[in-house]
């Protein structure tokens, strides 16, 4: 049940003969994009072990810091441990160097740490999200050592479904409510179609002052009637 697809935001890979095929991380849908309102992060909350749904209330957004957020896709333990490790590294950096680490620096740190264990079976497809003095930063970091700076990305088995909603309605000029609604809609449709995603939709907003949790919406009959109304 591993699905092989191209990542759409890596446009240069699409034009080469041997494109890098990235494995999809099981059983989740996470997405993030940057717009005028800030960085919107939205995740589902289902954990599946094969055909069995083991939990519907997993926290897939890891709050590393007051200004850094990471998402979880793939192996839960790997993501959780390495992002917490990154948090302690960022703390040390801030104490030594008298200023907060930049988001590109933080993503570089975790990429270098994980690259050493490249072939040992780690499974991680995470996004490092934050706001530093250079502006908003959204990086996709992989257990294979990929590190991409992107404006909008979705990771997980339901990402293809989420991309359909996200890309068709994405604009830079979205205010907070529209942007959160878009993110929720994308996750809902992904959870509806993809058997490995579901539970509740957790939405976060990241801005200059830090991150904040916007909402946590259950996917159920109410959501179905709301999104399939038209």
């Amino acid at each position: 049940h591993t699905l092989f697809f191209k990542i759409r935001t890596v446009y240069y890979l699409m034009n080469t003969c041997e494109y890098n095929i990235l494995k999809f991380w099981h059983g989740t849908t996470t997405l993030a994009f940057i717009c005028r309102a800030g960085i919107i992060v939205s995740v589902d909350s289902r954990a599946s072990m094969g055909k069995y749904v083991s939990s519907s209330s997993v926290k897939k957004v890891i709050e590393i810091n007051s200004y850094l957020i990471g998402t979880m896709a793939g192996g839960a333990a790997d993501c959780f441990f390495w992002e917490r490790n990154l948090g302690s590294f960022c703390n040390l950096y801030e104490v030594k160097n008298n200023h907060k680490v930049s988001i590109s620096g933080a993503s570089k740190i975790i990429t270098n740490m994980v690259y050493k264990y490249r072939n040992s079976g780690l499974s991680m497809g995470t996004m490092i999200i934050g706001w530093d003095q250079n502006g908003p930063g959204l990086y996709y970091v992989d257990s294979q050592g990929n590190r991409l700076r992107v404006k909008s990305i979705s990771v997980g088995s339901g990402s293809t479904f989420a991309y359909g909603i996200l890309d068709s309605a994405y604009k830079w000029d979205l205010n907070i409510e529209e942007a959160c609604e878009l993110a929720r809609r994308a996750i809902f449709h992904a959870a509806f179609k993809d058997p490995f995603s579901g539970g509740t939709i957790n939405t976060y907003l990241v801005r200059e002052e830090g991150w904040i949790k916007i909402s946590s919406d259950d996917i159920g009959k109410e959501a179905y009637s709301k999104y399939f109304e038209k």
Partner: protein, 288 residues
């Protein structure tokens, strides 16, 4: 060990005056005897303190609490060509003077100001061999820092790395201290900073300094320039005026100017010839 033969003849004791050196063997024997007896006088007299062996290694202190090897290194730096650094409103300025003896009739002579990355540079005096090694290490440190943290080394981080390397060379007996001192100019978080480092491993953050020959007199005029707080471009004129007072025979070919300001998006080595000739014209125009 320097031996002055005139001194030798006058300080021979009574017995030895009769032993006039007739043969080469005789001469060498008296020479050796004399040097072995008078070792103390042959060592460099420094503030009339008898060192007798406390200055042979960096790893020994004298009973007064001084490490003589480091002081000798700083003395070398004091007699080297001058390097000057100053902060302006929108950037940093580093001036350096090349060694006139080395640059005479030469097509190119050793540089004194080196870029480390796009936003920092080091201007150093002293032994060129030591300077080259130091700059190499600073550049490698910058590369590895970029690999790990995706940022360039700048500010007090760069200064502390350079200074800790220099300090490491003052701790072990098998290494001699770096005989170079320098000025680090960086722009960190869009604020210009200047650091000075010395052969003892000390580094100091300041608004402007000068190191090398005739640096004390230049520092006083630098203070007046800093009070006005103007651009890089204006400061170049002011500093060249000050330099002209201190060194009237300064050859412009030997002067290196490095400026890093908002006008130049990345670090740029000496400015166009127009500004240099303009400085010469201005400094000749204002009589001292």
């Amino acid at each position: 060990m320097t031996v002055n033969h005139k001194v030798e003849s006058s300080s021979l004791s009574g017995d030895e005056k009769f032993l006039k050196p007739k043969s080469i063997l005789n001469y060498t024997l008296t020479y050796l005897k004399h040097t072995l007896l008078n070792l103390n006088y042959l060592v460099n007299l420094y503030m009339a303190s008898i060192k007798s062996g406390y200055d042979l290694s960096t790893a020994t202190y004298s009973p007064e609490g001084r490490v003589f090897q480091i002081e000798y290194a700083t003395k070398l730096v004091k007699n080297s060509p001058m390097v000057l650094g100053i902060i302006s409103n929108d950037g940093i300025l580093i001036f350096s003077e090349k060694d006139p003896e080395v640059s005479r009739l030469s097509l190119f002579s050793p540089e004194k100001i080196f870029p480390i990355n796009k936003i920092s540079a080091i201007g150093a005096t002293g032994k060129t061999g030591d300077i080259n090694y130091l700059i190499q290490r600073a550049r490698i440190d910058n590369l590895s820092y970029r690999e790990n943290f995706s940022e360039s080394l700048n500010g007090s981080l760069l200064a502390s790395r350079v200074a800790s390397l220099i300090h490491m060379h003052t701790v072990y007996w098998h290494l001699r201290p770096f005989a170079c001192s320098g000025i680090i100019g960086t722009i960190s978080d869009s604020s210009p900073e200047i650091f000075v480092f010395f052969p003892s491993g000390l580094f100091v953050k300041c608004f402007g300094t000068a190191i090398g020959k005739q640096s004390e007199t230049v520092k006083i005029s630098l203070e007046n320039i800093l009070v006005k707080s103007s651009n890089c471009r204006k400061n170049i004129k002011e500093v060249s005026k000050a330099l002209k007072i201190v060194k009237p025979k300064l050859n412009l070919r030997l002067l290196e100017i490095f400026s890093l300001s908002r006008e130049t998006s990345r670090f740029d080595k000496p400015i166009s010839c127009n500004i240099i000739t303009e400085n010469e014209r201005l400094s000749n125009f204002y009589p001292i």
